[in-house]
């Protein structure tokens, strides 16, 4: 029975968190009346659908709104996305809610006759999105590469994009509608395409895609595509290559198509189903991949899983500018992880650089170290000097720790980057360019290189590019990441035995200036996901795309 007291209980259950008392009250209430479980079941279904529907933007919702408007006198809330598409459909500028309402009515007159046809097509497409295998056949049936005027997707964003379009066709720009048969070749930069059902495909040049008569699918001829399917309606998004059909099951995934090597796929989160194309040697082969798994499909290897290939999907971005493009989001993300020390080098006060996380572990300057760069985007430049904390950092002896920083040098150099030191002679962790990047963890302090657990990365210092370096000790292992790629691991059975001071830079003069920035020291192990997130916050700002690169 539904009563005000039920409201109170349901309100508490929906607001959360569940407590033992609430759980017990809920049991009593569910037993009380057979209608009560039905009520809770309805709320449960709603709880899962609200976030997805709220984010959703698709032609289907626009048509539904238009159809509803015809039968419903009540005003309708229209999001900016919907408004933008309405504007495209109606060819009218819509400003305030009243004008918007009239514009909608005008739209109804124009499109309502076509809407029933479109809606029936959408219902057919809906079947495709709710059952990937059925969708697979649907795509085959729908893959008619004949240009028509039905909108199946939109170009929603681009960055530094250049296109090679067929003669007579102009380059697409943001908010352009895309139709079945449209073939787009991105020759430089990045572009983001959103299907009618809300799946987002992030393309990185060089890439060619083609759309067909399906609201939630595209063909990737060659190049790199990262798919995001975060709304209920976008699930079932299909990427077709020469070798495979990749069907999303609610996820973020990447696909690289290459005429010579075949199709590489990787799942960042969620899961995908990959099926060999019916007209290839992989016909009838199916793989289900979950987060962190990769697979390849080609005529030689078949359709087989392969070692994690996330690195292949890292964006190729230019980080050669002298100033690292740090954003507020990046600094906030670092601070949220509550590092023991976080040095941004924005200002040298007297002889010191401050720790953004408090008064402890301030860095004192010895020799020639300066803060250089544009306002609020400065880094520390080392030529003949180093920085050092006066206090030892005791929490680093507790076991896990992480040292994260960005480094850049114009030329190949050999020098110490970061050292955890006990005395001027004895050190217990070092990160060096020799000239390849090396990370060594010494449980007991020593002055002898190679006496600890060591990772030699083979990653050279001579890049002219900013590199994101993260050294992690986690459990009984050390790891080293460069630009999010795990470049090495080594066993590390024992934690640091003595609390060290942090030293940044070298005692000796460096042949070419070394820039370091955003140095953070944590008394915990950063996960690979957190490492990726930090890199992504820089890379994404560079690209200014709406969707983050995983």
């Amino acid at each position: 029975m539904y009563t005000p007291s039920n409201d109170k209980l349901l309100c508490r259950v929906l607001s959360g968190p569940l407590t033992p008392e609430l759980s017990s009250e809920l049991d009593d209430w569910l037993r009380e009346d057979p209608q009560n479980p039905v009520l809770l079941a309805q709320f449960m279904l709603l709880e899962n659908l609200i976030p997805a529907v709220r984010k959703e933007f698709s032609a289907e919702s626009i048509l539904a709104l238009l159809l509803q408007l015809e039968n419903d006198a009540e005003p309708i809330y229209i999001t900016q996305d919907v408004e933008r598409t309405l504007r495209k459909k109606a060819g009218a500028i819509v400003h305030d809610p009243l004008v918007r309402l009239f514009a909608c009515v005008a739209c109804v007159v124009i499109v309502v006759s076509g809407a029933f046809w479109a809606l029936s097509t959408l219902i057919a497409a809906n079947t495709a999105s709710t059952a990937p295998q059925i969708a697979d056949q649907q795509v085959q049936a729908d893959e008619t590469l004949v240009t028509d005027e039905r909108i199946v997707a939109m170009l929603t964003a681009s960055y530094n994009a250049t296109w090679a379009m067929p003669d007579g066709m102009s380059d697409p720009t943001a908010n352009d509608a895309l139709h079945p048969g449209d073939r787009l070749t991105l020759t430089a930069g990045f572009a983001e395409i959103t299907t009618n059902r809300g799946a987002v495909a992030l393309l990185e040049a060089p890439t060619t895609i083609e759309l067909f008569d399906n609201d939630n699918a595209m063909r990737l001829h060659d190049g790199k595509l990262i798919g995001f399917c975060e709304t209920a309606s976008s699930k079932g998004f299909i990427v077709r290559t020469d070798d495979a059909d990749i069907t999303d099951l609610g996820t973020k995934f990447g696909v690289i198509a290459d005429h010579e090597t075949g199709t590489l796929m990787h799942v960042f989160s969620g899961s995908i189903s990959a099926g060999g194309r019916a007209d290839t040697v992989n016909a009838n082969k199916q793989l289900l991949l979950k987060a962190g798994q990769s697979a390849v499909a080609n005529p030689n290897d078949g359709l087989v899983s392969k070692p994690e290939a996330a690195a292949a999907f890292l964006p190729k971005i230019d980080l050669s500018a002298a100033d690292l493009p740090i954003t507020a989001a990046y600094t906030q993300a670092v601070k949220q992880l509550n590092p023991l020390a976080y040095y941004r080098f924005e200002e040298r006060v007297g002889n010191e650089f401050r720790n953004e996380m408090g008064d402890r572990f301030t860095l004192s300057c010895f020799g020639d170290v300066v803060s250089k760069g544009s306002d609020a985007n400065r880094s520390a430049v080392f030529e003949d000097g180093f920085l050092e904390t006066r206090q030892a950092i005791a929490p680093l002896t507790h076991g896990d720790y992480t040292i994260e920083f960005w480094a850049r040098s114009e030329h190949e150099i050999m020098c110490h980057l970061i050292t955890l030191k006990v005395t001027s002679k004895l050190t217990n962790a070092v990160l060096t360019f020799e000239p390849a990047l090396r990370f060594e963890h010494r449980a007991d302090p020593s002055n002898s290189a190679g006496s600890g657990d060591t990772i030699s990365s083979g990653i050279l210092s001579k890049t002219g590019q900013w590199q994101h370096v993260v050294a992690v000790r986690s459990g009984q292992e050390i790891r080293l990441y460069v630009n999010t790629v795990l470049v090495g691991t080594a066993e590390s059975p024992r934690p640091l035995s003595t609390a060290p001071q942090l030293k940044i830079g070298s005692n000796t003069k460096i042949r070419s200036p070394l820039q370091l920035d955003e140095i953070a020291v944590y008394d915990k192990a950063l996960s690979e996901q957190q490492v990726r997130e930090h890199f992504r916050l820089i890379a994404n700002d560079e690209m200014r795309l709406r969707r983050p690169v995983p």
Binding site: P37, L45, L46, N48, L49, Q68, Y77, Q133, S269
Partner: protein, 179 residues
């Protein structure tokens, strides 16, 4: 549509996919009511999907598929609590037993429910949509939302409940009307 004979593996995958899409919203609601953090809830749902797909051979078709998924989800939720060093607090087994038939009674196709909700949400006013956005998109707690719009957390809980209840009534009404 093609009428080629089905490979057994393909038929199995198709069976799993169909069952998954039918049960996913019930599972999503089940997890989200117990794990309030959306990203964590998403992770758990994905883990359940992957585990269910891999172990689909072990599923007994005589039992409701949702019951099997809920069983996997309970293990994952308990694991999540353990990682947070907290004692698991979940719906009791009795509550789950009572909920499963009630969920089975919800006859509408998932896509019909989505369509109905979409229409119902279009009727919310801007303030109501803002609250939904703050809670579900920005994942703010009631305390943070209260700070944001200048009221108390309990008022936010009540306002959100009223919105959810209005949406629930509207969705059920539309589904009945369409039936």
């Amino acid at each position: 549509m093609q009428n080629t004979p089905q490979h057994p593996q393909e038929a199995k995958q198709r069976d799993f996919t169909k069952r998954w899409f039918d049960a996913q919203h019930a599972l999503g609601g089940f997890v989200r009511l117990q794990i309030r953090h959306h990203s964590d809830a998403d992770d758990i749902i994905q883990e359940v999907a992957a585990q269910a797909a891999i172990n689909f051979d072990q599923y007994d078709p005589a039992r409701p598929f949702a019951a099997w998924l809920f069983g996997i989800a309970r293990q994952r939720i308990a694991e999540w609590y353990r990682k947070q060093n907290r004692t698991p607090i979940m719906f009791s087994s009795e509550a789950v037993d009572l909920l499963l038939p009630a969920l089975a009674q919800q006859q509408a196709e998932p896509s019909e429910r989505v369509d109905a909700l979409r229409l119902c949400m279009s009727k919310l006013n801007e303030k109501q949509l803002l609250l939904i956005d703050l809670r579900y998109h920005h994942e703010l707690s009631s305390e943070d939302i209260a700070d944001e719009i200048g009221t108390t957390p309990s008022s936010i809980n009540v306002m959100l409940f009223r919105i959810r209840d209005a949406l629930r009534r509207c969705v059920e009404h539309r589904l009945e009307a369409d039936a």
